[in-house]
Amino acid sequence: MAETLLSLVPKAEARQTMKDFKSDQEVRWCPGCGDYAILAAVQGFMPELGLARENIVFVSGIGCSSRFPYYMNTYGMHSIHGRAPAIATGLATSRRDLSVWVVTGDGDALSIGGNHLIHALRRNVNLKILLFNNRIYGLTKGQYSPTSEVGKITKSTPMGSLDAPFNPVSLAIGAEATFVARTVDSDRKHLTSVLRAAAEHQGTALVEIYQNCNIFNDGAFDALKDKERAKEAVIRLEQGRPIRFGANGEQGVVRDRATGELKVVTVTARNEADLLVHDAGAASPTTAFALSRLADPDTLHHTPIGVFRDVERPVYDTLMADQLDTAVARYGEGDLMSLLAGGDTWTRDE
């Protein structure tokens, strides 16, 4: 199956470079915005896929990140707030020869568009969703978002925000997502590796990208970016490897035998064998969900990055196309005139 879905998309005839994916439009994000790094990573990664540029489509909603399609020299649609997954679903399910990407943000995907996101995930439409999470509303000038920490002071919450945030990875896993990953705007190598895995995935892939808004929420992810602090804060998930982190891997993740939950422990000779071995392909989402709960939403300590979940499940677009084929096989290619004249008919002569 791994070959089939991507193989429906025509390949580029000539070798491509990053330049081929830059549109002629001037990029208009604030200087220093994390979006620049993500754009560069995506433009740099696209040639690797080797797909015909005209068969790639970027669809976005509204928000800073949603300007993304204008800067990609592919087909693109900048739509309306929250609706990109719905629009992309119509495109992907009607055109399986396209590689369809959704670019969205924490407000776009998780607030106004929350319903479309979860339903795209459960359907497993062949979409690659890049969720730029900066934990703030940027385009409307700095209100708290559904991923902001509780107590966030903003212009709309001068005494602090009241609502508990979403964890996008937890939400996606709960919504039956078949591929869920998290990465960081400033780690181009990691970002690219996650994009690669997402592109190869059959079905909906959700990639949460922690992205710095240097104007309204600067430093939101410093705990994960500062070299020293990151050693203690970031848990890098690697398929088939025991989950360890810290400057010298002195910390690790084990399952608590009493509760079944995951917990962080100091690795010792005695418990080393108990370390959880990461398996994104596990059929049950339980462990992936437990991993997504390790991070402290306030300090971001123990934040796993990498691919949480990557499993195969029938893809909606394929199933839909199969039903059309089955219908033709069963009833023959539809004939309009016999359809219209179906049922009881009678004739009036001259």
Binding site: P10, S23, Q25, A52, R53, E54, N55, I56, V57, F58, V59, P69, Y70, M72, N73, T74, Y75, G76, M77, H78, S79, I80, R83, A86, I87, A88, T89, G90, L91, T93, S94, R95, L98, N115, H116, H119, Q323, L324, T326, A327, V328, R330, Y331, G332, E333, G334, L336, M337, L339, L340, A341, G342, G343, D344, T345, W346, T347, R348, D349, E350
Partner: protein, 639 residues
Amino acid sequence: MSLLTPVDIGDVAEPSPPAPARSVVRRRDRVVIRFAGDSGDGMQLTGDRFTSETASFGNDLSTLPNYPAEIRAPAGTLPGVSSFQVHFADHDILTPGDEPDVLVAMNPAALKANMADLPRGAEIIVDSDEFSARALQKVGYDASPLEDGSLDAYRLHPVPLTTLTVEALKAFDLTRKEAERSKNMFALGLLSWMYHRPTEGTEKFLASKFAKKPEVARANIAAFRAGWNFGETTEEFAASYEVAPAVKAFRPGRYRNISGNLALAYGLIAASRQAELPLYLGSYPITPATDILHELSRHKNFGVRTFQAEDEIAGIGAALGAAFGGSLAVTTTSGPGVALKSETIGLAVSLELPLVVVDIQRGGPSTGLPTKTEQADLLQAMYGRNGEAPVPVVAPRTPADCFDAAVEAARIALTYRTPVMLLSDGYLANGAEPWRIPEQDELPDLRVPFTTAPNHVLEDGSEVFWPYKRDPETLARPWAVPGTPGLEHRIGGIEKQDGTGNISYDPANHEFMVRTRQAKIDGIAVPDLTVDDPGGDAKLLVLGWGSTYGPITAAVRRLRGAGERVAQAHLRHLNPFPKNLGEVLARYDKVVVPEMNLGQLSVLVRARYLVDARSVTQVNGMPFKADALADSLKEAIHG
């Protein structure tokens, strides 16, 4: 079970032709029958079957199903009454009829709920078994109307339908309750005898509907035949009636009976074929539009993709995505759903992509009356968006006309790359009438070419693709679908620079783009309005749109029959209006606009043409009655 006719159901006698020796046969030129019962009594099915028999017999006909929004309201109560009215004739007719000649009432609630519509002298057939003290009390009858003389002015036939049905089915392996369920078929058999309806279609239908439960199929057929035979043998009914086929009402061709929603679904499939584009429906279930989703979902072998979305917004979103990809994209809904889709319709206006938005109007505002009809979404269709967002509006006039209206909506959407509102309503959706099936060569060619090459040369001589460089004739922008090499482009809801389509906040450009989008819709080619004014000397014009066509035309005929002079015109295109509408309106001293709203079309024509259009309005969830409408028009003529 095979579909052989007659269906073998054992020793139950087959229907025999009515024997003129015993019962008198009378001729009628038209008859209105209303079947009424509990929502669980199967009245819609009974009415549908009677209609199909009537259609295949060759009468002209028109139907009015009327049922509560609750799936099963409490049994035996007034709110639970469901009815189906069918009007059939030996000439062409336009409405389901004002007053029933025959009421079939399956219980006291059905009788009580429908008495107000019944003219004196009408025939009433009731299931007398259901008139127990408790059932009577439930609907507030102190005494049984079957016995207290209150129905003396009618021709009352108390028939123990339940007992007779159970008796007829005693040979079957059914519980009493199961057997009782077939009483609607007994009633159908009786009415079929009374009006000389053909029976084969119903027997075939029952055999196929219950193919997986042969015992139930045989029982229903047996009850149906028993009803027929009861009419034939009892002396309760002194006469049976013939309504000759409506030979002159139909121009030559092949006909079938069709409901508005079915015709609309077929119109969309036909448009997809004629455009050589795959059909994509994004939809969310909502009464009374859902049947279109159901119907289109059955035709996947036509390459039809139906997507039942998570909500109304996703339904239209998916459709718009498919339109970007080159499908004939459609979303179907009713009024509240249109409200939710408004923002996406605005996006489609801005993206200038083809999209058919079907609104099967129902009583509003808010949830309103989900199963009743209204025409109160016209202004929503015209103006219900932020910004200047003009959308063409097309309305069918009869159930069968929904086919042509759907094809026309698709034509406009594809030719002009615009969302189009197709405004049907609950009455058209569920009502049915004979439809002349078009021949292949009568369908329009809807093919539009995708753009496949650069369409603009820059000053430096390089060839580029400009997504907003328009066709000078139609002002439509090019439709270049993803997968077309060299034409990669980005579109969005932000204002675009004329030509290049790049983001532009330039004031003059916005002014130009707003006016250009408006000019594109204003310039859509629509046929001139035709006026029916036989004498050519009428002073009053009746102007209508949508499903009021039937009642208006019937009312106008009555007035003319009474010697009045009146002209009639009916709009298919509400936006843009036909070019000659202003000139037509100016020809008449008086203009009257009957609508099932508080005067929305009259607001539009008053504003546009400065005519003193007079409104005749009704918002009771039901179509106009022709007689009442004729009275209003008469008043207008002489007032």
